[in-house]
Symmetry: C2
Subunit: 359 residues, 2 copies
Amino acid sequence: MGVRSINAGGYAVHIGAGLRHEFAARIAASAPAHTYAVITDDNVGPHYAAPLIDALGAHGTVSSHLVTAGEENKTRTSWARLTDELLDAGCARDTTVVALGGGVVGDLAGFVAATFMRGVPVVQCPTSLLAMIDASLGGKTGVDTHAGKNLVGAFHAPAAVLADVEVLATLPLEQRRSGLAEAIKHGIIADAAYLASIDERIDALVAGDAGATLDVVARSVEIKVTVVNADVRERGQRKTLNFGHTLGHAIEQATGYALLHGECVAIGMVLEAMLAERIGVAASGTVREITRILERAGLPTKYPATLSAADVLKATRHDKKTRAGTVEYALPMRVGAMAENNGAWSVAVGDADVRAVLV
Amino acid sequence: MGVRSINAGGYAVHIGAGLRHEFAARIAASAPAHTYAVITDDNVGPHYAAPLIDALGAHGTVSSHLVTAGEENKTRTSWARLTDELLDAGCARDTTVVALGGGVVGDLAGFVAATFMRGVPVVQCPTSLLAMIDASLGGKTGVDTHAGKNLVGAFHAPAAVLADVEVLATLPLEQRRSGLAEAIKHGIIADAAYLASIDERIDALVAGDAGATLDVVARSVEIKVTVVNADVRERGQRKTLNFGHTLGHAIEQATGYALLHGECVAIGMVLEAMLAERIGVAASGTVREITRILERAGLPTKYPATLSAADVLKATRHDKKTRAGTVEYALPMRVGAMAENNGAWSVAVGDADVRAVLV
């Protein structure tokens, strides 16, 4: 299948089946360093860390650092501990951080790199579909606080992103479904034909078929980097990537991270599409179309009965997309196109409308 | 005396006597926001925070946040607490952070701003001479760890820097002397005539005379921003600003921050000049000239007898300027000019030579 390389503007994204065997050489080529600090978690590490650490040894000193898997560990405490571990291991300005894992590892290791000695390079080696097409791209790094997700962080573009689609075959099924939620989001916000192609191959994608997945990762990466590069600091168009995330994050937080990120985004997309139809932004039928493909991917489309509308509304209060006391939503006009709203790419929506879709 | 405004490349530095009465209007003009979060310490706050908070109230919601004065509080713990306070106060992406205080407040508040929701604007209102001519400029923000100073941080340029030289008159004498160490450094690294002008007016400067101080702040700011803008990411020429700081930081750390930063830099400059003469980089007489002006400013020039050479050497190990196992020093050729060393602007020096000047 070969390696697909996408210029993300300042760094390259390389995607391939079996690419992990080239990770060390590609890391050393894109961010040569005296010391390499590999950060991984206890799910991914046992499978893929040892060969990478061995191979990196040919290029410099290597230290390895483990975090416990799970969003609940994406904290300032983990960040401080990892930073201290790097210092103890003798890491300095000439260190490259390698993030080997899913979105949690990528965000956390990225924030360690962003703030270590005021910034050292990070190479993202995402091992989940979600991380390959979303978290590893665009330079957003950060950690959660009690008040919400990603409230503390920095923009820190990776030196490179290396994705091996073969590793997805060993992911739990629900992780692949969760990742597909973001791919479906890319179709909804930017490319109806891409959405249709996901729909056609949904069974192969859910099963983790390498060929189908490679096509999806490549197209999703193209969409994400195009949108990000049009608006790195998220003043306008980049906000479209937040579709499904304002309510998705709120649900994720209100349920104490009991659901997977992609599951929350799936529910969030349905709710935000309902909001868009309700206030007249989206064409009628948009909700139905979005719901149908998410159901085909085996993703949830209704928010948990254990939550009240008040819980969800409260959790939107600390969303970073809050401006001047109202909550801003990136909303679709139809599948394949988002509401531009005169360059704002988001629409302020009052609590009453949000409550109405949360029934 | 009027207001001197210096374009620092992307932001302006405004310096004046009595400028504090215009802080609120200038903050709102340079970084308009929905919420202003004023971060200050328990030395500066009681003198200057209340009028600023009152005046800012005309431009938005204001929250105020206090840190205990002192380098020992420039920690990740303080940073996390301030961040949580901002979240609790309802701060969001449309918040501007105001740093009202010396270098510790500026570095800490700057790091809070750099990492709050992945970055919100900060306006630096430095209240010490040191902060006016050094810490508030150039976008370096950060905190200390057990392993050393400023090991964790980010580059985050201020939206503006506002300096009122009148507030320096109420600073303790030793704080003004400490600030003069950095002004003297600027003369040594870039401008022998400026160094001579400091020498001529040293008594007025030590006394906190507003007119003399305004001239010094303006010229030091010019030198610092010129050097920083030539090399924002500190790959080359910016390293010259580290003159005196490699050993200065090591002494500061080894003494547990018992000495003021400028006192440590003064000692560091003498030691590093000795190093430069010893290895043949600096002209003979450089140490004598540097020592003489520092003594006239009432600054220490010898490292504390309580420290051993081994203590100081050990503390250089975690310096960010460490590369590939050796320690890099920015060294003078003579007063007014630094060693370029083929564009590196630093020289790798072995422990034996460092130990020889630490006798």
